[in-house]
């Protein structure tokens, strides 16, 4: 036989038999779930997902039920959605959140927008890089109590044995038996699915629709990205936060900044700074130069997520603009009296600027163009218990 003769193609029936066998060997019961499709505009890089928790439609669906389920708190009074409400881009219109037992949190609930891309989570934590880690805080924290599940895991597991959970766990993890790790994996998958890329700004920037923004919004956008205002130094990249990484982004960024919100005398402390009860990144690093440094949050849907700053101490976007225009905040009376503008750790890019009334209007118009109405109306992100009470 001539080894160089062209190979005869396989007989067609044999070919199909082999193909079927190959396909058959792949379709174990665990992979009946369709592969996850990221709903991303063309060219947008893929988020990085931990290898141990790949995305699946079934996990996202289970996570959605869990996210909206008040049984996830020890006393049955709160769910994740109590503080992360879809209509407010998964933030809440409250300066500082209140936990399931009524305890006041010291910080403002962050919006959950494109969190799949975050390389740092929460307001001021240098080490929290995965949603799977971060979720343990709202689930188990005792100071303050949020969902308050510490010690209540057995009760939670009992609750998760009732419909519709067995079926949801079966589809997501191929077992009706719930466990805490799976709860965390499913919640993380749901949070990763909360993607917002359909604002007017997106259509202008990434779909090349020149008409998507008004001349006023374009003027505001030009100001936003100008050296005069310096906004984009900290709110840069496609998520308007440095705390972004993705599959093409191999280098790490450090996204924490002091914006000059406080510079108050602190009882028992030699140096003035941010209030003792919340000093930002310095609490973790024990480094005074990190005093008052918080993560720059995304500005996507920012018009929906009032009030602003880590403690919700600025009520409106107009106030935020005034704050940056002044280069920080002066508090004239009370416990936190002091001139935040002179905080030595303040970012040098918060220097203050002048804006005419029309320029101010333009910047606000631009910030409003970052709102994605489809995101807050998307039924895939909504409360599933309303459909299945």
């Amino acid at each position: 036989m001539n080894p160089f003769a062209p190979r005869k193609p396989l007989p067609l029936p044999l070919f199909f038999t082999i193909l079927l066998l190959m396909l058959g060997s792949c379709s174990k019961p665990t992979t009946t779930d369709p592969a996850w499709q990221w709903q991303l505009p063309e060219g947008m890089p893929l988020p990085v997902v931990p290898a141990e928790n790949p995305m699946s439609q079934a996990k996202v669906e289970l996570g959605r039920y869990l996210f909206y389920d008040k049984q996830l708190s020890a006393n049955g009074k709160q769910s994740c959605a109590s503080c992360h409400q879809q209509q407010f881009a998964f933030a809440e219109p409250t300066d500082r959140s209140v936990g399931s037992t009524g305890q006041q949190h010291r910080r403002n609930a962050l919006a959950l927008v494109n969190v799949a891309y975050n390389n740092r989570l929460t307001w001021a934590h240098d080490g929290l890089t995965d949603i799977e880690q971060q979720l343990l805080i709202p689930l188990f924290s005792e100071t303050p109590v949020e969902l308050g599940l510490t010690g209540a895991e057995p009760q939670l597991m009992q609750r998760l044995k009732k419909p519709p959970y067995p079926q949801l766990f079966q589809q997501a993890f191929n077992s009706e038996q719930p466990d805490m790790q799976q709860v965390v994996f499913a919640l993380a998958s749901f949070v990763r699915s909360l993607l917002s890329f359909q604002s007017e700004f997106d259509r202008y920037a990434y779909q090349n629709e020149d008409e998507a923004l008004s001349p006023l919004q374009i003027e505001g956008m030009n100001l936003f990205f100008s050296e005069r205002l310096e906004c984009h130094h900290c709110h840069g990249g496609f998520n308007f936060t440095q705390a972004t990484s993705h599959s093409q982004q191999l280098l790490d960024l450090r996204p924490f900044h002091n914006t000059g919100l406080y510079y108050a005398a602190r009882p028992g402390q030699a140096e003035a700074g941010y209030p003792q009860h919340d000093r930002g990144l310095a609490e973790l690093t024990m480094n005074s130069t990190d005093d008052g440094r918080f993560r720059a949050p995304t500005l996507r849907n920012i018009a929906l997520t009032a009030p602003y700053m880590h403690d919700g101490s600025l009520t409106t976007l107009e106030q935020v603009l005034d704050f940056y225009q002044a280069g920080g905040r002066t508090i004239t009376a009370g416990r936190y009296a002091g001139d935040g503008r002179h905080h030595p750790a303040k970012s040098q890019f918060v220097r203050g600027f002048q804006l005419t009334d029309s320029e101010r209007e333009a910047v606000l118009a631009f910030l409003n163009s970052l709102t994605d109405p489809q995101f807050i109306a998307n039924p895939e992100h909504s409360n599933p218990w309303l459909a299945h009470p």
């Binding site: 890089p45 990434y206 990205f225 840069g236 496609f238 191999l250 960024l253 450090r254 040098q348």
Partner: protein, 252 residues
């Protein structure tokens, strides 16, 4: 038995040493395609934690990164390897002072002695691409301005106990419909700086910050964002012309 063992051991040693010897020239070649870069203050290597005294004030580096591109040796293009810090035609060097450092250029081939030239900055065709679709190190939002203006070719942030000071170098006078649209024609001021040096193998490339800041009075007003109408920017641009802050050391 013993003889056999000894013979076996000797043979093993002989093979191992010949393997090692065979590796040696390769090791040397590897070193010859790397140029180390050192940030320096008046010829003395400096690090982020060092306090430097400028006009009787203590300063610390907070951020120093820059793009170099268009490498040539004796006018012949020299390509770099592809890593997260470099593409064949360009590299991002420097530090964010939080442990993310890159201080070396790795070329695809060894470098012979000769006239080494490169550009501080990025070519126009690269500078205004969509950064979303760019690959590392061009997808780095800390070094990016906008489609219209492109990248910060050099970003220097410094902090004293009283105030911060920054120099961000990049193209200006770029005309387009908005900051998010790339310019069709080259910018009025590209603000890239060509450097040529006499290179000998194993030399290090020093970036002398003192030379860059020569005659600049650091004040909250003298930070420069590449506005060519600002006198401090003019001075910084002057300090970057010719070899400027670049020096190869030790001298051949």
């Amino acid at each position: 038995m013993n003889i056999a063992r000894t013979a076996f051991l000797s043979l093993t040693l002989a093979v191992a040493s010949s393997l090692l010897l065979a590796c040696n020239p390769k090791e040397q070649n590897k070193a010859l395609n790397v140029i180390e870069i050192t940030p320096a203050w008046q010829q003395k290597p400096m690090a982020c934690n060092d306090a430097i005294t400028i006009q009787n004030q203590q300063w610390q580096l907070q951020y120093l990164r820059f793009y170099l591109s268009d490498f040539k040796l004796n006018q012949q293009p020299k390509l770099l390897t592809t890593t997260s810090w470099q593409q064949p035609g360009l590299a991002l060097l420097g530090t964010d002072c939080h442990g993310n450092d890159n201080w070396q250029l790795t070329f695809a081939e060894p470098l012979a002695p000769g006239q080494l030239s490169f550009t501080l900055g990025l070519p126009f065709v690269v500078n205004h691409q969509n950064p979303l679709k760019a690959s590392s190190p061009l997808n780095f939002s800390e070094m990016f301005w906008s489609w219209q203006l492109g990248y910060k070719f050099l970003r220097l942030d410094m902090q004293s106990s009283h105030f911060g000071w920054a120099f961000h170098l990049g193209s200006t006078g770029c005309q387009s419909a908005s900051v998010l649209r790339p310019p069709a024609l080259p910018c009025r001021a590209a603000n890239t700086f060509a450097v040529t040096l006499d290179y000998q193998p194993n030399q290090k490339l020093q970036f002398n910050l003192a030379a860059l800041l020569s005659e600049i009075v650091l004040s909250p007003q003298s930070s420069c964002m590449s506005d060519s109408l600002q006198t401090d920017c003019q001075q910084l641009f002057d300090n970057l012309t010719m070899a400027g802050p670049w020096q190869l050391s030790p001298a051949p």
